[in-house]
Symmetry: C2
Subunit: 244 residues, 2 copies
DNA sequence: CGGCGGTTTGAACTTACTCAAGCTTAGTGG
DNA sequence: CCACTAAGCTTGAGTAAGTTCAAACCGCCG
């Protein structure tokens, strides 16, 4: 089962936001009907991406935000003068791609599909126009960005001075929570990203990710079969996260 | 010399934004005159903080943003069930405190003065009202948040899979750049924060911070005397940052 | 069936941590 | 003004956690 199957309802041409299964988590959440309609008009038919295909490329000028409709993506940065890539984060359905590019009008990192995915394009200039006449949408955008900021800060805490076990526990619990918000199971989901991606994101070697996952499994905390993950004890994982 | 002396011009009662030396870097940058005036009216006399005093406390409800007028502060989070604190980041003059609290309407971390500091309070509800009639201010706020997001991501890259030397080099170069933008020297400035604060922020033990600073000094990259830092070779530090 | 990407596992090594002691600085009170 | 104290910083020695390198394994796709 892929993530795109878990979050059913690929947006078919002409379908509107309010028919979208992501309604609750998307930027389009909770807007007055009128705004909804204007936003709908903005969104073209969702754009399909194949596994490994880039949605945005590091360094290119920014002009449009994307809302993930189905599938998942990773944000990958190549710090100046470095050949090694760093996975900044992952995008799940309902999440907005490109918020960090608004300020400088250029994309600081590439965004690549981890599997077949669909995204709705949201031209930024037009979004801004809409925001001008629309307090609710504007507020929604601001809050979205603020929450994003907050979750980056959480990620910083997770990376700083935590053991490999704590990082991985935190990562899995975070994913679990995000899937849950999207109406998927909190306990069982697919890891669309490789061990290497996870390692890069958590500042760990891919071997360490593999070893810790194995340890968690031996301790009865999780069940891993290839990319399918089952969380057997959320409490156990929380305990690890909060250790010391 | 303290940072507050380096950025002169504490806002005296009745003074306006356009007379503030931080004009170029502040949220108030580049606004039409009319907006400037409305914003001015919003900002009370700056609030003074003593070293160690909390501006906001983790968990308290959010209702106002703050603009740092002089001095510096640190953002400190205590992750759930952890006694150890984590320094999320530092605020310099011209920077906005509280952006990450807008979304959830509650403050995820405390903000504490590192030295005597002055901040301008900006009630969020009134700022929002202003934004409604004011495209430029609104846009400015969005871009501010976006840049913040971007710099958090940079910080993530710095923490992930980098050596102690690279983290510290990156941190010092980042500070240098920020001071420079504020019209201070790019090469010499005060570290208002302790080694422990730096360590916590970079995910290093304070002893490691001390050792690496010593190593940098022996290599002729920096000159450290207590909290006064002189960068002798920006190129050298960049080289370390980009190693491997 | 063969190959390839991704994953697991093992062994040696390196980095940064912990613990501990001594030192410097700034701040306080006599 | 100096002495005393507490906080912060430096330095050293031993240790632990995670990395690197290497080899074997698995599952998927042509």
């Amino acid at each position: 089962m892929t993530a795109s199957e878990q979050v059913p309802g690929t947006r078919t041409p002409g379908t509107h936001c309010d028919a979208c299964s992501l309604h609750g988590v998307c930027l389009t959440h909770d807007l007055p009907e009128e705004t909804q309609a204007s936003l709908d008009a903005l969104l073209d038919q969702p754009r399909p991406l194949k596994r490994g295909q880039a949605l945005v490329t590091q360094g290119e000028p920014f002009d449009t935000l994307y809302l993930v409709r189905s599938g998942s993506l990773k944000q990958v940065a190549r710090p100046l003068g470095h050949e090694a890539e760093h996975v900044v984060g992952f995008y799940l359905p309902g999440e907005a791609v490109g918020l960090e590019a608004i300020g400088e009008r250029t994309c600081p990192a590439s965004v690549v599909a981890l599997e077949t995915a669909f995204v709705c394009a949201l031209p930024y200039a037009r979004l801004r126009e809409l925001c001008q006449h629309n307090t609710t949408l504007n507020e929604s955008l601001l809050r979205h960005m603020s929450r994003e900021l907050r979750s980056e800060q959480r990620q910083l805490c997770l990376l700083s001075g935590r053991t490999a076990e704590q990082r991985l526990a935190g990562f899995l619990l975070g994913l679990s929570e995000r899937f849950h918000q999207r109406g998927c199971s909190r306990y069982r989901f697919q890891l669309a990203m490789s061990r290497g991606d996870i390692g890069s994101h958590l500042g760990l070697a891919l071997e360490t990710v593999s070893r810790v996952l194995g340890r968690f499994q031996r301790q009865g905390l999780v069940q891993v079969a290839n990319r399918e993950l089952t969380l057997l004890s959320l409490e156990g994982l929380h305990a690890i996260l909060e250790e010391r």
